[in-house]
């Protein structure tokens, strides 16, 4: 944790902090000062020390997510994530959760297209226990048919709650399916309902046996423990687990996109029209990767705040939208989306909003981003580097997500330097590469007019 700050005098500490934030440089300034090593069985271990409180977080990340599923088995990665709470022969259902709760801890899990992760935050002296139980369920999950059948119902309820009860979630699934012609990001992480209904105990066990192996996992520990304390515990519980050969992590590649796509949905429970256009975009790991970091600037300048170009033009000046903005996340193994959106003001149409957004983008591309915009975006991104260190769990998430999507510890630790290196020319070039309407989807979600 930025030890040079702690060991210097206060005044010097502040000066160094200012340097990190405002100028650039310190090649020595690792953000988290994470330590890492790999067990003989292939398990990568990452430690982020933080001794502010006697608390520790364990997160285990598997390099397997919804985009790795077989066709027709959509949702199995997420289904299995639920089933991992059903226990093992030595630690039946409920034992792990009770142990976590006993120290006031919290736990959960999440599934994405590229990874699945499980975490517990517990009192530091409970780390040994949660390491033991997490290592146990990596290989010893036991499932009865009744447990699987019951959990399938839970997941169908989750889908009803998150998707079916919510028209904008329903629409997002439809949009993703035409945004990607082939890449599996086109499919929902939770799975289509009919495929969830067909998932079996055998499917779940096959998924575990295929992907849940130490050489396909990253163990991230964050909090009040030292490397010397951690190593023997990890060795004891995770060390004996044998590695297994892994299948290729196959992803269907995205073909050239040649036609702008348009999609509209009317729904009786939609009460406000929304307009959006999303462009297929590179990520740190896919496509023209050199554009990923500059696009993080571009999204901020174009639509990241109330001083952004889109918000100023559409909401403040032209008053044709109630809100407007942009989104882009550079992470992920596959092609991402750079999106712009607006909510038309009362009496304004999606077409008017679309024309205005086009005007803003064309203007930005013809004149380029300004030095002031670059500075403002950079300042915000560098401040986030400092703020990120305030959340122990957040730090663990940053490393887990990076290391399961083709990035390295070095990539995370040198983020500030990468931010400092981005130029206006690079941002303009990234915009030119991404703003190609033939690679975009225009989507409009609107209220269903009353039946005549």
């Amino acid at each position: 944790m930025m030890n040079f700050l702690l060991t210097t005098t206060r005044r010097l500490g502040l000066a160094l902090a200012a340097m990190l934030v405002l100028t650039a440089s310190p090649a020595t300034a690792k953000i988290f000062d994470a330590k890492t090593y790999t067990l003989p069985n292939g398990l990568q271990v990452v430690l982020i020390e933080d001794h502010r409180a006697p608390v520790v977080t364990q997160m285990i990340w598997y390099k397997a997510g919804a985009a790795d599923e077989k066709i027709g088995k959509g949702g199995i990665a997420h289904f299995l994530e639920h089933l991992m709470f059903k226990g093992t022969p030595t630690n039946p259902a409920g034992v792990f959760s009770q142990l976590v709760a006993r120290s006031g801890g919290r736990e959960n899990a999440f599934t994405a297209h590229d990874y699945t992760a499980y975490f517990q935050t517990v009192a530091a002296d409970q780390l040994d226990n949660v390491l033991r139980l997490e290592a146990d369920r990596m290989t010893n999950l036991s499932l009865t048919k009744e447990q699987v059948d019951s959990e399938r119902q839970v997941i169908l309820e989750e889908r009803r709650q998150v998707v079916d009860n919510n028209p904008s979630s329903q629409f997002s699934e439809q949009v993703a399916a035409i945004q990607y012609l082939s890449y599996p990001y086109r499919l929902p992480v939770i799975g289509w309902e009919h495929e969830i209904r067909g998932l079996t105990r055998d499917d779940a066990l096959e998924w575990v046996r295929t992907w849940y192996t130490p050489n396909n996992a990253v163990l991230v520990i964050a909090g009040d423990v030292t490397l010397d304390q951690l190593k023997p515990m990890v060795e004891k519980y995770y060390g004996p687990i044998p590695s297994r050969p892994l299948p290729e992590r196959f992803r269907a590649e995205e073909p050239p996109q040649r036609a702008e796509r348009r999609i509209e949905m009317e729904h009786p429970r939609v009460t406000q029209t929304t307009w959006s256009r999303s462009f297929l975009a590179p990520s740190y790991a896919w496509g023209e990767k050199q554009h990923a970091m500059p696009l993080s600037f571009l999204v901020e300048i174009l639509g990241g705040s109330s001083t952004s170009r889109l918000y100023r033009a559409l909401v403040v000046e032209q008053k044709i939208a109630v809100s407007a903005g942009a989104y882009y996340n550079p992470g992920g193994l596959g092609p991402n989306r750079f999106g712009v959106y607006a909510v038309p003001a009362q009496g304004k149409t999606p077409a008017e909003v679309e024309a205005a957004v086009r005007g803003v983008i064309e203007n930005l591309m013809s004149t380029g981003v300004t030095a002031e915009e670059m500075t403002r975006a950079r300042t915000g991104m560098l401040a986030e580097v400092v703020y990120a260190r305030d959340s122990v769990q957040g730090a663990a998430r940053i490393f887990g997500a990076a290391l399961t999507t083709g990035r390295s510890i070095e990539d995370v630790e040198t983020y500030a330097e990468q931010v400092n290196a981005v130029t206006a020319d690079q941002v303009n070039a990234a915009g030119k590469a991404v703003f190609d309407v033939t690679k975009s989807v225009v989507s409009v979600l609107r209220p269903r007019p009353p039946q005549k």
């Binding site: 409180a53 959760s97 119902q153 309820e157």
Partner: protein
């Protein structure tokens, strides 16, 4: 929708087995040269600080017909203040990477500030401008009002919004707690600039303000900063007291028919206030009933054993002038009755038979330990400093809390369970298209 203080309530002790480990957290009460008080936890390892503030008196004080005034105002304080118009204010925040946020709940108006150490002077200046000299220029007022209205319109068919608004309307008829915190299309449209200015003139005082700060600042430095932000506040706020109220619980079941595949259910009973000596007995009882994410009876019966729901919960929700024990579930339309019956059965079961020794032990160690574990960021610790002050728990509360919880007996929990868990009296709202569920008017009050 629900922003009870309870959610911010947290602990500084970890009990593991027999040992109690105190977190390295020392609270320092600070009084500025100008007389502003705050509680501080110094944390110099990261060059930033987090401040949380809370003014007693919230959306419940919004005038009739102007519901949502507090919420609208919370979106306007950073839209231009003092010499800075909206754009200039927002640019200044961004140029210095300062974040300032405000929000209104039923009982209070709160704010949070996050800044890097190097920019903290400017951050406190901006916070002070926002609180004492907001401009309410016509452009941002119109724009933010449109955004609030858009939000209300967008959520008007959202089942979770409908179930919450309906429940509070039925639980607190004729009382400010029964009104939607964000207001309605009509009431938000009715708010004038004069209303906003009157709010600033009357609702923020030194006497209804508490402040918690965590981060890279010494008590002396903080004293000076506090005066930059708060010295211009009036000595006293002019705030009314809302009436004490007991939520309606006469067995009413309200059905809001909507064409959605999953019904959303919310239920409630009179709960327990934060200053009640039995507060923690109720918290432990609720942990066992439905408060624990993976270890509660409702989780076990409704989700784990039968797969009836993804989300099922209960919680103790204290207000300043009332309290609720409430819960909910989202379940397929054809299984609503089954879920409701199971919830009622478990509520009756605990009322009749209490909880087991094992359940009580887990509830205690969880409730004690979770307090320390939730102190995982500067902002979270600052929120805890607020709760301690809001509820007058005292600086020694952190030393006493575990003892208070450990002293609770099974008989205490049983007694409070019999008092609170009246399954037949629950006010229930169902939004969806459930089979086998019929509305019930319930017994008339009295």
């Amino acid at each position: 929708m629900l922003r009870p203080f309870a959610s911010a309530l947290v602990a500084l002790f970890i009990v593991v087995g027999a040992t109690t480990v105190q977190a390295a957290t020392k609270i320092v009460p600070v009084t500025s040269p100008g007389g502003i008080k705050a509680w501080l936890v110094e944390e110099h390892s990261i060059p930033m600080l987090a401040l949380e503030l809370n003014f007693r008196g919230g959306a419940s004080l919004d005038p009739d017909g102007k519901e949502g005034l507090s919420n609208l105002l919370s979106g306007l304080l950073d839209e231009g203040a003092g010499p800075l118009d909206s754009e200039a204010f927002q640019q200044r925040l961004q140029d210095l990477a300062i974040s300032i946020n405000f929000s209104a709940s039923r009982d209070s108006f709160s704010g949070s500030l996050r800044t890097l150490t190097i920019n903290r002077d400017a951050a406190f200046d901006l916070l002070g401008l926002a609180l004492t000299q907001p401009r309410f220029d016509a452009e941002p007022v119109a724009r933010i009002r449109d955004q609030v209205l858009n939000g209300i319109r967008s959520r008007s068919e959202d089942p979770n919004t409908i179930v919450g608004n309906t429940f509070f309307r039925l639980a607190f008829p004729g009382h400010p707690y029964g009104r939607p915190t964000n207001g309605t299309m009509e009431s938000v449209a009715a708010v004038t600039t004069d209303d906003l200015k009157r709010f600033i003139a009357t609702r923020f005082g030194r006497d209804n303000l508490v402040i918690g700060v965590v981060g890279d600042v010494t008590p002396e430095e903080l004293g000076k900063l506090l005066d930059r932000a708060f010295a211009k506040l009036p000595e006293k706020a002019q705030i009314a007291q809302v009436a004490e109220v007991v939520p309606q619980a006469a067995g009413r079941l309200e059905l809001v028919r909507k064409d959605i595949p999953q019904s959303v259910v919310m239920w409630g009973l009179p709960g327990i206030k934060r200053d009640d000596p039995d507060y923690f007995a109720a918290v432990l009882m609720n942990f066992v009933l439905g408060g624990s994410t993976f270890n509660s009876r409702l989780y076990s019966e409704i989700r784990e054993k039968r797969g009836l729901a993804y989300s099922v919960y209960s919680s103790v929700v204290p207000f300043e002038r009332s309290s609720l024990l409430m819960g909910g579930v989202g379940t397929a339309n054809e299984r609503v009755k089954e879920s409701l019956d199971l919830m009622r059965a478990e509520i009756r079961n605990i009322a009749d038979k209490g909880i087991t020794d094992e359940e009580l032990a887990l509830a205690k160690t969880y409730t004690i330990g979770a307090f320390a574990l939730s102190l995982d960021s500067n902002a979270r610790i600052a929120q805890t400093l607020l709760s301690l002050q809001i509820y007058n728990l005292g600086l020694d509360y952190l030393d006493k809390r575990a003892g208070i919880i450990n002293a609770i007996t099974k008989a205490d929990v049983q007694r409070i369970a019999q008092k609170l868990l009246r399954a037949d009296a629950m006010t229930v709202v169902v939004v969806g298209d459930p089979r086998d569920v019929v509305p019930a008017a319930g017994k008339p009050p009295g």
